[in-house]
């Protein structure tokens, strides 16, 4: 087990190394010049040269990369040319917001998707199943930004029951930061008003983000439940008189959930990336919005920082999923 973990963690290092190389190459292929953008059209040659020197972009690319990596090993992600702030500080500020959003979306997708998938499998080819299938295919097909806007119009404007965007009203005092998750912080501070406010702001973006994952989980669960229902051990359980709900929600569920786990792991990473669109529509101050702004400004350091962070999260999630397999399936041995 320890050996397995060690090997997996060691395996992550070359992948992340390759990732830095990849993002570095991409972000330096840029035809435009971010320094010019920041310095503005009136800047003199000397001013531009000074700025370039300040950020080290006057050096040849390999030197820049070595410098960047050296900084990375010290935990220094570099500075944003646009905001002139440390990227690490920015990430510390924005990442919890995205993580909170993604975790909420994943929870919604799992908690709704698993039972709906089972239901769809049991009602196979009858009206509820067809409805659920159309719904799930439809949700996968809906662009996230379109869905986000529709939710805003319906719940924010027509019904007026949920806020249109943002994470917390600027005029209200947020709970003291402990975890960076507003909902959790509010609960820790026993500030129930703030908790409700935070939840109300979280609801629409989380739903908008979760829908495609929800649909995928429904489809995965449906397929694997149908497969598990064909297994001999289900027949044995029925032949020995176990009632259908027990068979379904205990025995079949665990077997079917194992294959759905992979999807959950993969989606976790995808949602970190996909949150870009939802964050844009809902004005959610997370790394997605931060990354988009940086990308449009051709600001390398934040782009690299965000990509690396998401890459790490993705790899770590997959490791966790692989470990969870062992928890669910006793046949798996980590060697």
């Amino acid at each position: 087990m320890v050996y397995y973990l060690l090997r997996r963690v060691l395996f992550i290092i070359p992948v992340l190394f390759g990732l830095t190389l990849l993002t570095f190459t991409i972000s330096h292929l840029v035809p435009g010049d971010p320094v010019m953008l920041v310095a503005g059209p009136q800047a003199t040659k000397e001013e531009i040269a000074a700025l370039a020197a300040e950020f080290g972009v006057d050096q040849p690319l390999p030197t820049q990369y070595v410098r960047y990596m050296a900084g990375l090993l010290r935990g220094d992600l570099g500075r944003s040319i646009m905001t002139r702030r440390q990227v690490a500080d920015d990430l510390r500020l924005f990442f919890p917001a995205t993580l909170e959003l993604v975790l909420a979306a994943v929870s919604i997708a799992v908690l709704l998707g698993v039972p709906l998938g089972i239901f769809s499998a049991v009602a196979r080819d009858r009206a509820p199943d067809n409805l659920i299938r159309i719904f799930s295919l439809g949700s996968i097909s809906t662009p996230r930004f379109f869905l986000a806007l529709l939710l805003q119009i319906v719940f924010g404007i027509i019904l007026g029951i949920l806020p249109l965007g943002g994470r917390f009203p600027t005029l209200q005092t947020p709970p003291p930061t402990v975890t960076g998750f507003l909902t959790l912080d509010a609960a820790l501070a026993r500030d129930w008003g703030a908790l409700v406010t935070a939840l109300r702001h979280l609801t629409l973006p989380a739903f908008a983000l979760s829908l495609s994952m929800l649909a995928t989980i429904i489809r995965m669960m449906r397929a694997s439940v149908l497969e598990v229902l064909q297994q001999d051990y289900v027949l044995t359980a029925r032949a020995l008189g176990l009632p259908q709900p027990l068979i379904l929600f205990k025995y079949v569920l665990k077997n079917a959930f194992i294959s759905t786990l992979t999807v959950i792991g993969l989606y976790f990473g995808w949602l970190l990336g996909g949150s870009v669109l939802v964050e844009t529509v809902f004005d959610w101050p997370g790394i997605g919005l931060y990354a988009t702004n940086s990308i449009i400004a051709l600001d390398f350091q934040p782009i690299m920082g965000v990509t690396l962070l998401i890459g790490i999260m993705f790899v770590v999630t997959n490791l966790i999923v692989d470990l969870l397999y062992g928890l669910f399936d006793p046949r798996i041995r980590y060697t």
Partner: protein
């Protein structure tokens, strides 16, 4: 009808079953008749695909409908026609009165749950559906019930020959060998002290040496618990070893039945004779026994009369008209063939 011990425990009367598949409708059971007395072991034999397994599953009402459909027939179990029972009533029969074990012990235990978990659930369910609370009585707390169920499961595991059961019960199925898994499944089937055990090819997937052990175990348990057993197999050797009675099935019909001794000694139906002539060798393919040339007929458009007629060495014109009704050759020996009785030329 009142349940009395004079009646056979299981009485299948004129059972038909159709199954809808992509190609059309399979007429898999074609008027099955079968009687099994209390405490008797009946071997149900025939080639692969002749409807043995579906007959067994029908008794527990485990054939999915649709795609299955029962156009006609009755299955009387202990004085009640299970074809008319609701699913809730069937739940009270399954596991408690009628238990089943299946061919491949490797796939019949859920791989991701401990043996203890699976057995305790079965035991608790049986106790819940018993009117008197079953072996648990009514007094215990939820935790007490689980502990009692566990003790009972351990006792049964030991009884079927699993050593150190108190410890091994917390293992997972993959930690057991094939023969041991089949023992676990037998113990699970016995949890409810059933009257009828339907054993579908229980030894086929096992090593030859283990097969004999499992058969001996089954035989001992039958005597001990006064069980009736419907032993579904294509292995005539198995039938000869443990069965009191035998029913031979062909393409959805019971073509011959009677005491095992009688049927083996003087087989009447041409199909039975063919089966007994065929000693399986490594060259024998599944579904084609040496003594009976040809294959099971197409069940979508089966032969109109006797379904064995296309393969029968004694086929006559009358065989194509209608399925022959059973004729009693002796008190304990019946055959459905035009070679006997009034159809005789």
């Amino acid at each position: 009808m009142m349940p009395t011990s004079d009646h056979p425990l299981l009485d299948i009367r004129d059972l038909y079953l159709d199954i809808q598949v992509f190609e059309g409708t399979l007429h898999v059971l074609n008027g099955v008749n079968l009687r099994l007395a209390r405490g008797q072991v009946m071997g149900l034999v025939g080639e692969t695909g002749c409807g043995k397994t579906l007959t067994g599953l029908s008794v527990s009402r485990l054939v999915a409908t649709p795609p299955g459909r029962y156009p006609r027939g009755e299955i009387w179990f202990d004085g009640r026609n299970v074809m008319t029972l609701s699913e809730a009533e069937m739940l009270k029969l399954r596991g408690r009165r009628i238990a089943m074990i299946f061919q491949d012990p490797a796939t019949n235990l859920n791989p991701v749950f401990r043996i203890s978990e699976q057995m305790i659930d079965v035991a608790l369910h049986i106790a819940e559906t018993s009117d008197d609370g079953g072996f648990l009585g009514r007094r215990l707390s939820a935790r007490g019930r689980r502990q009692a169920a566990r003790r009972r499961a351990i006792a049964l595991l030991e009884h079927v020959g699993i050593e150190d059961a108190a410890h091994r019960i917390d293992g997972y199925p993959h930690e057991f060998s094939g023969g041991m898994r089949q023992r676990v499944l037998i113990a699970m089937a016995l949890l409810g002290q059933p009257q009828l055990l339907i054993a579908d090819e229980p030894t086929t997937a096992l090593d030859v040496s283990v097969q004999a052990q499992i058969l001996r175990l089954l035989y001992a348990l039958v005597k001990e618990y006064h069980l009736s057993v419907l032993l579904i197999t294509h292995n005539l050797g198995v039938v000869a070893q443990v069965c009191d009675e035998v029913a031979v099935m062909y393409a959805g019909n019971v073509v011959e039945c009677g005491s095992a001794h009688r049927v083996f000694k003087s087989p009447a139906h041409p199909y039975t004779r063919g089966l007994l002539r065929s000693i399986p060798t490594p060259q024998t393919r599944r579904g084609e026994l040496m003594g009976v040339p040809g294959n099971i007929p197409n069940l979508i458009q089966p032969p109109p009369g006797c379904r064995f007629e296309p393969r029968c060495p004694h086929a006559m014109p009358i065989c194509r008209t209608a399925f022959p009704s059973a004729v009693a050759l002796q008190a304990d020996h019946q055959v459905a063939c035009y070679l006997y009785g009034e159809g005789r030329p």
